[in-house]
């Protein structure tokens, strides 16, 4: 039974990674999860300089999911390169660094700093709904997506995954723009913008007022968007959005994703990503699937 997948020339031992922001750089979760068993670890977003993030409350629970507005708190690329990358290098897994910024030059500074670093792939977050700088327009405007992707591709030494927002009218237009800009892969979906009101305190549940909705409640939306994107582009897709079980992950593969990310489920069950790996293997045995790639895009 072969669980290996190849994303933009990078071979993963299995099609499962963790969604950026739900897993830090792996150290905290390593008490619960053997990182060697993951196809890849996707780090929390890192910017050119440290970001303090948003005021608290930063998280809230909603029916079948959660909302967050962390605001991309991160230690900055220098400390990240000194501490987080060497930590992850100890493990036999692929390292995907998620890159964030307010403006093109900030993304480019991080991508340039990572040129010589031992990381396997870059995931560019052009879709965080929780940072106020008007830059959200990047991920919601096809022209900007194509332009930024092109700028990053010109200097990146690693394959580039553009992470797309679901908060758009037509996901295929954005997916095509990333492909036209030269992206090696796309990942979707980031969180859906939502709002929760605390009726007892008569205020917003999150200090940021709005936040990103994630968890099982958004899974059908993610499957639909991955399917639509898969019909529109040739580059591989990493599917994410509410994956909590192997069954959810297999749906995503059948919809056209070449790999999947487990996100919010890590908070409910710290070993969720490993349970997904084991569950995919069990499904393959049950249905006599010899190569996991047989599942990718299995539904047309």
């Amino acid at each position: 039974m072969d669980m290996r997948v190849k994303i933009a020339g990078v071979e993963w031992k299995n099609p499962v990674t963790v969604a950026s922001g739900t897993f830090g750089s792996g150290e905290e979760f390593s008490e619960f999860v053997d990182l060697n068993r993951l196809g890849a670890v996707t780090t929390k977003g890192v910017a050119n300089v440290p970001w303090p993030g948003n005021p608290t409350p930063r998280v809230a629970e909603v029916y079948g999911g959660m909302m967050n507005a962390i605001g991309l708190q991160n230690p900055g690329i220098e400390l990240f390169c000194k501490r987080d990358i060497p930590y992850l290098q100890q493990f036999d897994t692929k390292i995907i660094v998620n890159v964030c910024g307010h403006a093109p030059e900030e993304y480019l500074a991080v991508v340039e700093r990572l040129q010589e670093e031992p990381v396997d792939m870059l995931e560019i977050n052009i879709s965080c709904p929780n940072v106020n700088a008007g830059f959200l327009a990047f991920g919601q405007d096809a022209r900007h997506v194509e332009e930024l992707t092109g700028q990053i591709k010109r200097i990146a030494e690693q394959p580039v995954i553009m992470k797309l927002t679901p908060n758009v009218t037509d996901i295929t237009e954005i997916a095509k723009a990333a492909e036209a800009g030269g992206a090696d892969a796309i990942s979707l979906i980031n969180t859906l913008t939502g709002m929760k009101i605390d009726i007892h305190r008569r205020t917003f549940a999150l200090a940021n007022k709005t936040g990103g909705v994630s968890g099982p409640a958004v899974h059908p939306i993610a499957v639909r968007m991955v399917y639509q994107a898969a019909q529109a582009v040739q580059i591989p897709i990493i599917g994410m959005g509410g994956i909590a079980t192997a069954e959810d992950a297999i749906e995503m593969l059948l919809a056209g994703a070449s790999a999947v990310s487990v996100g919010t489920a890590n908070f409910h069950n710290p070993t969720a990503a490993l349970d997904v790996v084991d569950g995919i293997a069990e499904y393959m045995r049950q249905y006599g699937v010899k190569d996991v790639r047989e599942l990718i895009g299995g539904v047309r």
Binding site: G21, T22, F23, G24, E28, F29, S30, E31, F32, V33, D34, K44, P50, W51, P52, G53, T56, P57, R58, V59, A60, E61, Y63, G64, G65, M66, N68, I70, Q73, P75, G76, L79, H200, G215, P216, T264, A265, N266, F267, H268, N269, P270, T271
Partner: protein
């Protein structure tokens, strides 16, 4: 990879006051648990995903059991579901988590052990384990439903304040300190932020070493998601900004190092 989410067994459950429940659970976590730490409690309801961080009220290491005393926060909440569990039911938890109170700092000193509202319960195990010169427990309640009162009386000098004046001193824990003319060299406190803010100011004014236990909504509970941070005076070595993680670096902090 030594840790995991475990299904523990509920040993007993009782209601102590309006909306306040006490639960004993059988768990190996009791062996390593310390006063001031917490456990992440999960519901068995798939629509409620996030853990409820609940402070440890008592530890029975020999029996392998923990006691949590918690408040039901409203209708259709996770805590309401916990309150309906009975002996024998399975409860998913991760823990113990967080740092706990630094007990060794109290040796030979006059100590205040201050709890307010649902910050009262973690003070009990602290009172049982703290070895200090003078153990002054000051518990602040809303009203005369002074839960855990007998247990506190067995473990130190107990002073009570109530918001409505129906028991002890009318007002908050600092009003009790003033009323009884109490003095301390070290303070341990857990309670709502306005209370902790006042205690921090009191400690600074009197130059007293003070440790406070903070609360915040959490998602992972283990230091990865950065959902539950508090602001710090100095830049934190891990975050590289003026933020610490309440779940991992706390919940107990030296009052002077955090901005509340």
């Amino acid at each position: 990879m030594t840790r995991k989410k475990e299904q523990v067994r509920v040993l007993s459950q009782e209601q102590l006051a309006a909306g306040i429940f006490s639960m004993w659970i059988a768990t190996e976590a009791a062996g390593e648990a310390r006063p001031g730490q917490f456990i992440s409690m999960y519901t068995n309801d798939g629509t409620k995903l996030l853990p409820r961080p609940i402070s440890i009220c008592e530890i029975d290491r020999e029996a392998g059991a923990l006691r949590v005393v918690y408040r039901v926060t409203g209708r259709n909440t996770g805590t309401e579901q916990f309150s309906q569990m009975k002996a024998g039911d399975a409860l998913p938890i991760v823990g113990p988590l967080g740092n706990g109170f630094p007990l060794e700092r109290a040796a030979g000193k006059r100590a205040f052990l201050m709890g307010g509202g649902i910050g009262v319960p973690p003070i009990l195990e602290l009172a049982k384990e703290l070895d200090c010169g003078k153990k002054q427990i000051i518990a602040g309640y809303r009203d005369s439903q002074t839960f855990l009162r007998e247990e506190f009386e067995e473990n130190g000098e107990l002073y009570i304040s109530t918001e409505d004046g129906s028991a002890g001193v009318k007002g908050n824990v600092l009003d009790a300190v003033r009323e009884y003319g109490l003095e301390a060299d070290i303070i341990y406190a857990c309670g709502p932020t306005p209370m902790l803010r006042a205690i921090k100011a009191y400690a600074q004014e009197h130059d007293i070493e003070c440790y406070i236990s903070l609360e915040e909504r959490m998602a992972c509970g283990i230091g990865a998601c950065l959902g539950c941070v508090c602001q710090t005076k100095e830049k934190d070595a891990h975050s590289n900004v003026n933020n610490k993680r309440i779940c991992k670096d706390g919940p107990v902090f030296l009052a002077t190092e955090v901005e509340i």
